[in-house]
């Protein structure tokens, strides 16, 4: 199961051209959905208006070089390691889901376009990565669904309650789950079951990529942009009107705010995480 390319075996019943056409259609649906989402929510308009407002309040201008450094920081911290999440379990689950999804989608595209038939022998690493990706996606996703979702862990709602907000996670989970079951039934030679789970796999992935307008799929595009803007406001001093992030050992800060050295000393110690010693779960 783990070393066989499920799409090569599928090429006996569905031609590779149809599979490739389906992948292209899904890419177009994601692009179209994201653009429609942006128009509908006016998120781009809000984003640029907010950026203009922040620029007006800026205390210094941020150059292109500094913006590039900020972009790299966003890539390293917010994008690649999900650094925005304060909740460690949530961050781990998001990393599993994100890298699982990327592996799964990338290997699917490579196998469908590069090795669509059994004649073009697929390198063993591709199907292995495809299965690992689906498993990571399923583990991270189910962990989130059953234990981490805030309205499950805190608002006391049941795990089987569905809302429109769940469209993204549910379609992700069903895509990974039905994909894995389809691969298993196909490699075990269970013809009928295999067809059923393949149909479910396709239905789930169509819902995932076609439902961008109604789901939170587009967050993977606008979240990095928002994280970048947030860092720029810190760099240019506008800080969204938030107070400064002071260095308490700086003599200038101590002179401006004499309560700090008087009550905390010249070199205040690290006070620890405070209320974040435990996650929010008391409601």
């Amino acid at each position: 199961m783990f070393t066989s390319n499920p799409f090569a075996e599928l090429s006996a019943s569905i031609s590779p051209q149809i599979m490739q056409g389906y992948v292209i259609l899904m890419v177009l649906l994601v692009i179209g959905g994201t653009v429609l989402d942006m128009i509908h929510k006016k998120s781009a308009q809000y984003f640029f208006e907010n950026a203009k407002k922040a620029k007006k309040d800026a205390k210094r201008s941020v150059g292109t070089g500094e913006k590039t450094t900020i972009a790299f920081k966003v890539l390293a911290n917010e994008v690649l390691t999900s650094g925005e999440f304060c909740h460690m379990k949530r961050r781990l689950s998001h990393l599993l889901t994100m890298y699982g999804f990327i592996l799964f989608v990338a290997t699917t595209a490579i196998m469908i376009f590069g090795y669509p038939t059994p004649e073009a022998s697929t390198p063993a690493i591709l199907p292995i990565l495809w299965h690992i990706g689906a498993l990571m996606l399923a583990i991270g996703g189910y962990w989130f669904w059953f234990f981490i979702r805030v309205d499950v862990s805190a608002e006391g709602l049941s795990w089987y309650r569905f809302e429109r907000a769940d469209l993204f996670i549910v379609s992700l989970l069903t895509t990974a789950t039905f994909g894995l079951i389809w691969s298993y039934t196909q490699s075990s030679g269970m013809g009928g079951w295999s067809t059923l789970f393949f149909a479910l796999f396709i239905a789930s992935s169509t819902a995932l990529f076609g439902g961008v307008l109604w789901s939170k799929f587009a967050h993977m595009f606008f979240k990095p942009a928002a994280a970048f803007q947030k860092r720029v406001t810190k760099a240019d001093g506008s800080r969204e009107n938030l107070p400064g992030d002071y260095d308490l050992t700086d003599p200038a800060v101590q002179a401006k705010f004499p309560d700090i050295p008087e009550y905390m000393g010249k070199n205040p110690s690290y006070m620890g995480p405070g209320i974040r010693r435990e996650p929010a779960n008391h409601y």
Binding site: D151, E163, A165, L242, E262, P268, G272, A280
Partner: protein
């Protein structure tokens, strides 16, 4: 004015729901982001504003201390043990910042161990004072009690 949430900042972590003394900060069932379910009942205690790890909650302050169109924002940094406020007027000419300590010792390390205290004697039980209440808070005799009159000195530090 009651609290409101910047949806683009909120990640639905639930810290505000956890801390709200009026239990009016909830997670929206469709968007899975926090919102104030009953603005009329919000008394602007700022607990959620300070607890939010992303500074996603804001309150419009009253016009008696800052004219309309102003901004009053707070940053509670627990790791440094400080709280910072910034009040900015609409015209941008008044832009004030304040910084004050909220603790002088690491959180949770110096909690009084009341369980280790000796059990109250019969005399203490019959007394009108609360358990371990120092005598100098009594107001039933003589003048106002002060630290000096009780032979005490002000110590640096916040006790909790």
């Amino acid at each position: 004015m009651p609290t409101f949430v910047y949806m683009t900042r909120c990640d639905g972590c639930g810290q505000c729901v956890d801390i709200c003394p009026s239990d009016i900060m909830h997670i929206d069932k469709t968007l899975r982001r926090a919102y104030n379910i009953e603005p009329n009942m919000c008394w602007e205690c700022y607990s959620c504003v300070k607890a939010c790890p992303h500074q996603a909650i804001d309150v419009r302050g009253y016009a008696d201390f800052a004219p309309l169109g102003h901004s009053v924002r707070v940053l509670r940094d627990e790791e440094k043990g400080t709280i910072a406020w910034r009040i900015k007027f609409r015209n941008g000419k008044k832009d004030m910042e304040l910084l004050a300590p909220i603790t002088t010792k690491p959180w949770g390390k110096f909690i009084p161990k009341l369980a280790d205290e000796a059990a109250p004697s019969k005399e203490m039980r019959d007394s009108e004072l609360l358990f371990n209440e120092p005598k100098y808070v009594r107001m039933d005799e003589g003048g106002l009690h002060t630290l000096e009159s009780n032979g005490l000195k002000m110590k640096a530090g916040v006790y909790y």
